[in-house]
Structures are given as C-alpha cells and as structure tokens.
Amino acid sequence: MAVTQMDPFAATWLQREDRTSKVRLTANPDYWDKDRGPRLREVVLRNDLTPEEALDLVCTTEGEVDVVTEVSPADAEKVENSEHAELVSTEAIFTVAGVINRDAEGLPLADRRARLALNLAVDRERLVRETMFGRATPLAGLTPPAAVPEEGRLKPHSHDPGRAAELWNEARSETGGGERPLRVAALGGLEDVARAVAADLEGALSVGVEVVVYRGEEELPVRRRLAEKKLAQGWDVLILGHGAQFAESVVAELHRAFAGATGEFRAGPAVPEFESLFAELAAKTAPPEQAEVSQRIDRLVRDESLALSLCAPRALYAVNKHVDFTPYRTSFEFAETSVDDGHWSRR
C-alpha cells in the first residue's frame, strides 16, 4: 500500500497476484434476478495458460478455452479470421493517458503552455490508427467517450505541431529548461503508444526524446514512487491505462487519480481549481448536475493540460462461436452469458 495523503488519509494498494491454477464458479439457481441470470451452470477460470497460449486455443480448438479477455488490438484480426472464435468488443470506460510530471527538473512542464504543447504535438488519429489498429477513440480530457452521451462530449485537442513548437519555445524561454531530452515512460503493454508519442514530440518540439518501458515487477516501484510523491520521478511523461467502476464515477476515479489532491498518479502540486470543482461534485446527488460538473472538470483537465490525453481503447474479447457473451464497459461478468446446444459442454 502507498499512502498518497495523510490528511485526510488516502491510500492506494500496490498489488501482486498469487492465483491458483483454476477457479471454479458454480451457478446459484436461486438468484432473485432471473431475467439477468445465471444462464451458465459453471464458469472455470484458467490461470494455467499464458495469454498467447489462451488466444491460440480459443481460435483453433473447442473445449479448452471459451473466452479470452484483454485481446490486444494487434491480435483482433487473428480472432476475426479464426475458425472457432469471434471478436466481441465494447467501448470500455477506460483511458490511456500520460501523467505529466509538473515537478520535472530542467523542463518547463509546470507551465501550462508547455503541457499544452505536448497535447498539440500528438496526432491522436494516427495513434489510434497505428497503435490501436483503429480500435480506440481519441480522448479530449480524461473522460472516455463511452461514459457520456454524444452531446456531452468535449472535442479533443487538434494536432497542431506548429502551434505546439511556438508554445514550447515560449514556455522554455520564459521559465528556462528544455535543454535536456524529454523522458517518456510507459507501463506494461503500452510501449507502442509511448514510441508513437515520442516520435510526435520529437518531430513537433525539436527535442530529444528517450523512451523507457517498465515491465512486470519493474512497475511496482514506479507506481509506489508516484503515489507517495516523496522522491523525484524518473520520467517526464508516464503513459498508463486506468478505468472506472461506473460511468457516473469517472471523475472520482480517473480525474482524481491523475490530478486530484489524493490522486495516486498526480505528479505536481494539487490544483486549487480542480479541488474546488471536485468538492462541488461531491455535493451533487442529482445525475444531471453531476454530469454537468463532471464535464467542467474534464474541460479543466483538457484546457490546463493536466494530463496528456491520448485514447480510450475498446475492450476486446475472443469468444467461442457457441457462446453468447455480453461485454460490460466497466467490468467482466457472466450472468447474461449463455451457450447454445452446439457448445462442447452441451453436446
């Protein structure tokens, strides 16, 4: 666990996994909500396969694996072309964005103009096309489009490398810094995103950009250091993915994490205007009012460039063709899932 703030006490857990090889879930046929389910007698979670092995099995066999989650966009076509599986997807309430280190030594990232320059330098359409194979949506602030009705969605930053260079140079000449390379880091499977972002920044801002990727056990100390905020970070932009439990709680989970006083991903001082709006949101109980304040918070994050807004990837699943699977935007649940008479378990 990392303590992010003592008053009021706030913390985030830094987890390691210790899975058994299989977990078996058995239906409760007496559950009150018969319309919902359960429709399956049993779900077996297999932890004895790598994701690569699982994807291969669901595509080429029957009876070994029926559902694989977290399919990479790069593998989506393989699933679509497979004999036994189909690709099921949904617009997830999940964000891929960069934490901007507003405390970075030697770079002007405390200056809004420099942060805005980063956002204007990134070509989100190309990022989505080339690193997500088109299976994502560009972000405006941090709110994934799926969390708000179409009429409430903000417009993403335009791709304007010329204006980005002007703003970067203005901030650099007035506040100093910017002589050293910019360090772009990424967690987990986001290396391709980090490299595409780095290329855009290098091209637009005429700065050197180094890319570092933290994998597996390397992630934990990076997350701890960021959550605790006592030691300097080893990067200027850290690209990561983060989701919310509900569409209605996106700001409490995503925006708070990246920019809030209790935020485990905040890198830089707390932002009074953000805190004021966040307190206003906490006092709202009517959904329309919550949505209105939430949009103002997302606009503040976009306009102040409190994060490097990138994209909202779709959640992709490889699913056996005899399984009728209902994807959730914020979760992974089986209550509505059923199998037909041709499924291996019912033949």
Partner: protein, 158 residues
C-alpha cells in the same frame, strides 16, 4: 441460446486482467448496487433509494425476498453488518481509499428492509461506493471474512 430457466453449460475463461480478483467478487457477491453492461449504476440488493438533507442522508430500501446462496435472508441487518465490517478498516479496498465512506458516516436500520446512511458532509459518490461494500451472510463474517482468517486483517482485502 439459453434465455431463462435452469443454468446450463460450462465455459472456460482466461482473464489476464490485474482486476481478475475483483471480477470474481462481482460474479459471486451481492451488493446494494451493481454496474449495468453500459457501465451505469443500477440497483441490485437495493430496491430503491432516496437522497435527503442535501446529500447528507441516503435512505435505501433493501430488496425483499433476497437470500444468500446458503439460504440466509438478505435483510437490512445484513447491510448493517457489512457496513460495520467495512468501517473497521482504514483502507479496505485495493483500488484505493476513494471508495471509503468518510469517517463519521453512520448507518441505522429503519426496518427489516430499510437502512439510512448519514454522512458528515454531502457525498454524491455514495451510491457508487455501495458497490465496494460487499454484503455477505453471517457464516462468511464469522469464518474467512475478507482476509480475516488467512491474513488476520481486512486491510486491502475487500
């Protein structure tokens, strides 16, 4: 496809998500609210709710006729027990303390199927937080609990 009636069939799933532990909880445990497939909050063990006192009071009607898989009725007293258990811990939820109810939050049972939360300050996020307050039957709390038996603590195990 099986629409209603008796559950049928088995599926095998590989879920490399680091939130797999949470999804297992959501697939097996009842809460007052849950997420609909589109990600919005919808009632589960809760039938209805009412905000009062400008967000400082939340009254919840607990669904009647609901039972845990072991047959124990799920009533307002089950919700009270879950609240008492979660409030024991400073940081029970692995995602972070953002799912905590503020210190000073109270719950009173208003009837066999009614509870009233009182918050020290308005808490417009409270409905969502109810999903992190897992409602369990008595043998669970007296036995394994959330990390009680195995770890000797519920911190970070909800």
């Amino acid at each position: 496809m099986v629409e209603r009636g008796d559950p049928a069939g088995t599926i095998k799933v590989v879920d490399p998500s680091p939130l797999n532990w949470l999804y297992i909880t959501y697939n097996t445990v009842e809460e007052l609210v849950r997420a609909a497939p589109d990600g919005t909050i919808e009632p589960a063990a809760m039938e209805t709710y009412r905000w009062k006192d400008e967000g400082r009071t939340l009254e919840v009607d607990v669904r009647e006729g609901n039972r845990f898989p072991d047959g124990e009725p799920l009533t307002a007293h089950s919700v009270e027990r879950a609240f008492d258990e979660v409030m024991l811990w400073a940081s029970p939820h692995p995602p972070g303390t953002q799912f905590n109810f503020a210190p000073g939050t109270t719950l009173e049972v208003t009837g066999e199927h009614g509870v009233r939360f009182r918050f020290p300050e308005p808490d417009g996020q409270a409905l969502g937080k109810l999903r992190a307050m897992h409602v369990m039957s008595t043998p669970f709390w007296e036995g394994p609990g959330f990390g009680y038996e195995r770890q000797g603590s519920g911190e970070g195990h909800w």
